[in-house]
Every structure is written in C-alpha cells, then in structure tokens.
C-alpha cells in the first residue's frame, strides 16, 4: 500500500543508491537520471510489494479499525510505515456522536504507547492494503509520467554527492566499473584530434583510431570519455546527448576565454525605475547581460548587432536566442555549425555557455560587410547542430551613416559620414567604425580610468544629439553608442535616463540633454 504523497515525499536512501549501483552493474551501460528514475521506481515498487508480503505472511495481524483485538496481541500498522506493536489495554470508547467502538492501547517497539480505534466499521483503513496495478501510484508508467522529472532531479543530486559514481554528458556510471585508461591512450587521442584540426570527434571514432580495447563498446566508450573529461587537454563540446571531443589548445582563443569587448563588471542600478516601454525595449534588444526573461517561442529571431559582438565575431546567447542554439548537460562549450542562409556555406560555431555568447562570425561579418547596427536573422537549421544565419545584404551603396572616430584627444567623436553600406541596418543603432584599432585604445583607456557610466552616457548623448536637428537621441541608439567604448547592457543606461533630471524624455524613448540641469 502506497500512501498518496509517497512519490512526492520520496528521498533517496542508501538502499536506493545501492539498488541504482547494482542496476548499473547489471546493465553495464551508463544511464541518464531519467533512465535511473525508471529503475528506482521499479525497485521501490518491488520493495513495497515485498514489505507487504512479509507483513502479511508474518506473525503480526494487520491492524484494521473494524477488527477487535485482545491484550497481548501483536499488531502491525500499515499506515504508520508498518510499525509493529502489542495491545496492552482495551477500553470502551466515549463518543456519543459515533456508533459504539473500542479503544486499544498499543505499545510500540520504541516504548511509546498510542491509542487506536477497534470495532469501528466505517474507516478508510478497513480496506486491507494491497498493491493494485490500476492504482496510478503503483503503476510504473504513470508514476514516471507524474513524478519522473522530480525523481530524476533527486537522483542527480544524490549521485553528485556520491564519489562512487561518475557522470559524462548527463549519464551516470559506477566509478569502479570504469576501465583503466593508460596515459598512452590519451596521448594517442591527442594526436588523433590534432590530425583532425582539433576536432570535434565522437568517442567511437577516437576509439577506432587509437585501437582502444573495446570488448564492451559502451563501457570502453564511457571509460575513455571519463579519462578525457578528467584531462585538461580535452574539451567535451557535444550538444546534449552527444559526446564530441575537441583539443582544448586548438579551440579558438575567444572560445577559451571571453573576448575583452564582452567583459562586463555588473553595476548596481534601480530596475524599478525602468518604465514598461524601457523594459519592452530591453527585451527586444536581447542583450545577454540583461536579466533573464521567458524565452521567445519563435522560429526566427532578428538581432541588431552592437559593436562588442561585431568586434568579437560573436552574438548574444540570451533568452531571445538561446532556444536556437544547441545546449549541453555539462559541457561549457558546445560546437555547432553556422549555415549562411543565403549561400548555404557552412562554418564552425561555438556556444560558450559561461560567457553567454556564440562565437565564429568574425570572418562572416567581414565577408558580408556588416557594421554595428546591421540586422541579422537567426533560424534553426535542418539538423539540431546547425543554425542558419542571414544578413539582409543588398548591392553596396554609399550612404550617410552615423560613424564613430577617435579624436586627437583620444576621445570618441560621432559624425555623419558617407560609408559603403551592403546590408540593412537599424537606423537608431547603426554606428560605422572605420578604425576599430583606434577605438580599442579608447576602450582600454576608459577601462583603465574606470570612467563612470553616467559620464559616458552624458557625453554620448551630447555627441549623438549633434547629429540630429532636434538634438533628440533614442535610448537604443544611446545603448549602442555606449557599447562602442565599454560593455554595458541596456538596464543601467535606461535607469540613468529614467532617474536623472538632465535626461529629458521627449516621447517614444527619445531623450534630450538638459545642459542647464547638469
């Protein structure tokens, strides 16, 4: 008999861990927490059945409220987790609202005495306990459908704390069963990956090439996976459910480390100051450093490039874009393939989960002659490991575009200059950067001096205001301009716009600078 909250309340016991261990020993196959949850449910149901049989076959009588009992009679209480006790007294009950019944006093093994009803015809416990398959709490499929995810999480947490288990790409296995992988095999694996430009290669391919003994292929694969994972030379870069290896030393520099343009020191600011319009714009901008919002449920995402990503050859891995990219159970870096939606050209991409960006677009940006402010569209590829990327290119034409230059005083200067434009852009956010290296010096200087954000926002608004007859600047344009000299998500900038009296809102998120108020 399983009580209603049995599966909900279940906590993983030492016996459960032992059962899971034995299950993995028997199957000799690494399993996911979900697969282990199925094994756990089967084990627990068998255990409950055994317990029931043991109790029913034992000397003690199962306590039913309708039964009548004598002093000295041993009883077992299914509702109290099969606790056993002995009747030590019987008395008449006093309850004028119910039919007459008796009260038995029972002494339990721990010495405590409790009283129970006897000779009581109406009580739910009068149904003798039994395991019934049609009861959803006893049916493995329905238990897994309802509680499977929660059980998998509990198993994951319990195994993480247990040294006897190891995990690779979301699958668990007993450490003791792993094959010994000699360092020589690791050297061979390194050579194989080196010959394949660093990777990525699946474990089975590496095993084949290094002649690793594989009497039990799954065990061999998992053992080598574990050895490679434990070695710092190798990086597991496969998407969830797939193990792919890459030689860490051959990964692009900005996959191994976050590009300097994407470094951000979090700033305290008052989010409550942001207006609903500002929050909507923040969500639309999809900056990876903005607070998490519910992911967009869309097949296609349009992004406006900002300078830091344009310079680093990256795009944000934000709530807006994340669903399009492969993820992983553990791997911090995931290798995938970019596909140019216009030409079908394929080139390597990387999801860098800790840095919240995707990498591999530097050459593509150059080839498409994109600039900060250009529009880029992302769509899912034909296979899970592919992401389609599209620049809205057209015949190159010379056009007046907001541009940033570096003045003699090493300060950024904004001006409208004629640029060759080859792709559509966001009018509010476009900023051509003719000399990125010169801007690097400004970037470094601002970082070194730790120029306060507010000073930058004021100077950027002042600069940008010169380029329009009304002197009005859109919040998105200001965000783009600030990001040409330091990395900053929209939130802190918008909070300043909302709270400082010298930033005057003129409507539709356009602002002007009130010099007299500074």
């Amino acid at each position: 008999m399983i009580r209603e909250t049995y599966w909900e309340d279940l906590s993983i016991t030492t016996e459960d861990i032992e059962a899971l261990y034995n299950h993995l020993l028997e199957t000799e196959t690494p399993l996911t927490p979900e697969e282990l949850a199925a094994a756990l449910v089967a084990f627990r149901l068998e255990e409950e059945q055994r317990k029931l049989e043991r109790q029913q076959g034992g000397g003690a009588t199962i306590y039913l409220p309708k039964g009548r009992y004598e002093v000295g009679q041993p009883l077992v209480f299914p509702a109290l987790d099969w606790a056993e006790g002995e009747v030590v007294a019987v008395r008449e009950a006093h309850n004028p609202t119910m039919p007459p019944f008796e009260v038995i006093r029972v002494r339990f093994a721990d010495g405590r005495e409790r009283e129970f009803a006897a000779g009581l015809e109406e009580h739910i416990l009068n149904e003798p306990p039994q395991m019934r398959d049609d009861d959803p709490l006893h049916n493995p499929e329905s238990v897994l459908a309802t509680y499977g995810s929660a059980l998998a999480e509990k198993i994951e947490a319990a195994l993480t704390e247990n040294d006897e288990f190891v995990r690779i790409a979301g699958k668990w296995f007993p450490r003791a069963l792993l094959m010994d992988v000699h360092v020589g095999y690791l050297n061979l694996a390194e050579a194989v990956l080196d010959m394949h430009s660093g990777g990525p290669l699946p474990t089975a391919e590496i095993i084949k090439q290094i002649d690793f003994p594989a009497d039990n292929p799954k065990l061999a694969e998992f053992s080598l996976d574990y050895a490679l994972q434990e070695s710092e030379q190798f990086d597991e870069v496969g998407p969830a459910g797939q193990v792919l290896w890459f030689l860490r030393s051959m990964e692009p520099q900005w996959v191994q480390e976050t590009p300097p343009y994407l470094h951000y020191r979090p700033l305290d600011y008052d989010r409550d100051a942001l207006t609903p319009e500002m929050l909507a714009l923040e969500a639309a901008l999809g900056d990876e450093l903005s607070p998490e919002i519910p992911p967009a449920d869309t097949e296609q995402v349009e992004l406006t490039l900002i300078y830091p990503h344009w310079r680093a050859g990256t795009l944000p891995l934000s709530a807006k874009t994340r669903a399009l990219f492969p993820t992983a159970y553990q791997a911090p870096r995931v290798r995938f393939t970019w596909v140019d939606a216009q030409t079908g050209e394929e080139f390597p991409g990387w999801v860098v989960r800790p840095g919240k960006y995707v990498y591999g677009l530097e050459a593509w940006y150059k080839k498409k002659e994109l600039m900060p402010g250009s529009l880029v569209t992302l769509k899912p590829g034909k296979t899970p490991g592919q992401v389609l990327i599209q620049a809205h290119t057209h015949r190159p034409q010379r056009d007046w575009v907001r541009s940033v230059l570096v003045g003699r005083d090493a300060q950024p200067v904004f001006a409208m200059l004629k640029q060759i434009v080859s792709a559509e852009f966001d009018e509010r956010m476009v900023i051509a950067v003719p000399d990125p290296e010169a801007l690097d010096a400004v970037w470094e200087e601002i970082a070194r001096k730790r120029t306060p954000l507010e000073n930058l926002v004021v100077s950027m608004l002042r600069e940008l205001a010169k380029l329009t007859p009304q002197g009005h600047v859109h919040a998105a344009g200001l965000y783009a301009a600030v990001n040409t000299v330091r990395r900053c998500p929209p939130g802190p900038i918008f909070a300043l716009l909302a709270t400082r009296p010298w930033f005057v809102h003129v409507g539709d998120l356009y602002f002007r600078l009130d010099e007299s108020a500074i």
Partner: protein, 146 residues
C-alpha cells in the same frame, strides 16, 4: 514551558509541519474554551452555552484511526462547525485563518507552504513561517515535534 520558548533547537523552515498544541492552551492562562466557543456555529454555541466544562470525547484520526481524547467542545468544533462552508470563508487575521484551517483539517500538521496554498495566499508562505516562528506563540500553533 514558558511562552515564547521553542521546544526544538532546529529552526523551522517552509517545510516544517505546524499544528495546534492543545497542551499549550491548557498550560496558559488564556481562556481557550472561550476562544473556541466563539468559533462554534450558532447551533452549537447555544448547545455549549455553559462552555466552561465539557466531557472528553474519543476523536478518531480519519487517516490513521488513532484515538485522541479531546475536549467535547473542541470535538464538535472540529467535526461539525469547522466543516461548515462559512468557517473558512470568514474574513479574519492571518493567524486566526491558520488556526481555523488546522482545526478544519482535524489538526493534521501542515507546512507554511501548504497553509499558504490552502488559504489561497500562495505568496505568503514566508510571512506565515515568520509569524509562527516569531517570539510569540500564536494560539498554540507550533512546529510538530519529531
């Protein structure tokens, strides 16, 4: 046990079950019978007009069939008055609402999370926990001793 002193050194959490400790009521000067009399339905308020003395009744736990001798008025409150729809609908302060909820459920222990849900105040689980674990013992509502 002096009022305000906790029985356990383990700090209660959102998952700690609370119940009404009737022994607390009896150990305090507070007139619990008067408080309970006010909670009775009109019919039983009349029946228990002389609320100062009642005979204990054997109350049977609906889940375990365990028998607890309870005060006669408390028995009527739990098995009849607290089962009336208006009992839980009353607009009363949070602590009284918790007390009523526990009474209506036969004093089955409930966690602050469960209480908040059952009281249709899902966002107030922490408030309930803070209230019940403050320096004062409210209406004898205490964590269940293991």
């Amino acid at each position: 046990m002096p009022q305000g002193k906790r029985r356990s050194l383990v700090k209660p959490t959102l998952d700690t079950p609370f119940h009404i400790d009737f022994s607390w009521w009896q150990a305090h000067t507070r007139d619990w019978r008067f408080y309970m009399h006010r909670l009775l339905c009109a019919e039983h308020q009349e029946q228990f007009r002389d609320w100062k003395e009642t005979t204990p009744v054997d109350w049977v736990d609906p889940e375990t069939a365990e028998v607890h001798p309870v005060d006669g008025m408390q028995y009527v409150l739990m098995t009849h008055c607290a089962q009336q729809p208006e009992f839980l609908d009353a607009h009363v302060p949070l602590v009284d609402a918790i007390f009523r909820m526990l009474i209506a459920n036969g004093n089955r222990p409930m966690t602050p999370v469960e209480l908040a849900e059952r009281l249709n105040r899902p966002a107030q689980a922490r408030t309930i926990l803070r209230t019940l674990t403050g320096k004062r013992d409210y209406l004898g509502i205490r964590p269940v001793e293991k």
